[in-house]
């Protein structure tokens, strides 16, 4: 099971590609064929199972495209 997950607001994306450069597991790419409503090739996730929920993509994105989720930490009982 994936540790993290991102939700992409496709129509906000301007296809700048900054997130593609910083994702530590390399699962982001610009859609080669699809266009969004603004006419850009928006970002897409290739293998969501590999997402760590690190939020690197969200922290470099100029257009607040990403919402990032991560698995809740289960507290170890003493």
């Amino acid at each position: 099971m994936a540790k993290g997950m991102v939700v992409i607001d496709v129509d906000r994306c301007k296809g700048c590609g900054l997130c593609v450069q910083v994702c530590p597991v390399g699962i982001l790419q610009l859609s080669p064929d699809a266009f969004n409503a603004k006419g850009y090739h928006p970002v897409m996730v290739t293998e969501m199972e590999k997402c760590t929920g690190c939020a690197s993509c969200a922290r470099i994105c100029p257009d607040v495209v990403f919402t990032v989720y991560r698995k809740k930490r289960v507290r170890k009982s003493a």
Binding site: G17, T67, Y69
Partner: protein, 263 residues
């Protein structure tokens, strides 16, 4: 387009849209750091819980429409006059948190006097100063911050320092004023530097909340459109070429500012 996504019950949100930003599209070019910096400021305003008390002053430059993007009060100043307008607002509303957002054309050319005097008077203001070494909005002309030899639309042979002088070190200058309490230069050119820049912006806002004096965060940025580079390449270029001319660091930090607990 509205999409419904099922979030597994064992997942929690670690990044979501800042409350202090309006849910609209910005007019910035793809990959422009203005968007990153707007987001960082909005996150800081959210985290400090000052959304209702904040008043921004917009500049002239590419970020002239910034007031549309923030869910906080804003006014628009004439080119370079944001610190003067902010001074009036802060003095008549001392309980508000007032910040200016200015480009290098706005702050280091036409608005140099206003910026230096606001700092020197120790106005309780915060400035986010975005230095992309160029006039972005008007088509990429030379700014006072343009690097020696840098080609712009008004220096097609490169900036000749004999004719046009040297890049203006705004933060170094502001740090000389007694009224300034926190003057720093950061960059928003990769992930670690973006995280550091956010912390600096937070410290600058906190300095104002503690009524300490003037604070300014200069942020080295890019203009990929007028530099004719891809967004990522422009960031790599700026790290390599801008940082030697505009060294990073805190040029002034009083003991009170240093003592602020910035989380």
């Amino acid at each position: 387009m509205s999409v419904t996504v099922n979030i597994p019950a064992d997942m929690e949100v670690v990044y979501e849209y800042p409350r202090s930003m309006n849910k609209v599209y910005t007019h910035y070019c793809p990959g422009c750091p203005h968007g990153i910096l707007h987001r960082l400021i909005a996150e800081v305003i959210d985290e400090l819980g000052i959304q209702d008390r904040c008043i921004g002053v917009a500049p002239v430059g590419c970020s002239v429409l910034i007031y549309k993007y923030f869910n906080v009060d804003f006014v628009e100043a004439a080119h370079g006059r944001a610190p003067a307008m902010a001074t009036g607002i802060k003095r008549t509303n001392p309980d508000k948190i007032v910040f200016t957002y200015q480009g290098d054309g706005d702050m280091a050319a036409i608005g140099t006097a206003e910026a230096i005097h606001a700092a020197n008077r120790g106005e309780r203001l915060t400035t986010v100063f975005v230095n992309n070494a160029i006039y972005g909005m008007t088509g990429g002309q030379m700014a006072p911050t343009t690097l020696p030899g840098m080609v712009t639309t008004s220096t097609p042979m490169g900036r000749d320092v004999r004719l046009a002088g040297y890049p203006v070190p705004m933060s170094e200058i502001l740090a000389q004023t007694k009224g300034a309490v926190y003057i720093t230069r950061q960059m928003a050119l990769d992930l670690p530097s973006i995280v550091k820049t956010k912390k600096a912006i937070k410290r600058a806002f906190m300095a104002q909340m503690a009524d300490l004096g003037y604070s300014s965060v200069e942020v080295l940025s890019t203009c990929n459109t007028n530099w004719n580079m891809s967004p990522w390449d422009s960031m790599v270029w700026a790290k390599e070429h801008m940082v030697p001319t505009f060294p990073l660091g805190d040029f002034k930090m009083t003991d009170e500012v240093r003592a602020l607990k910035v989380r």
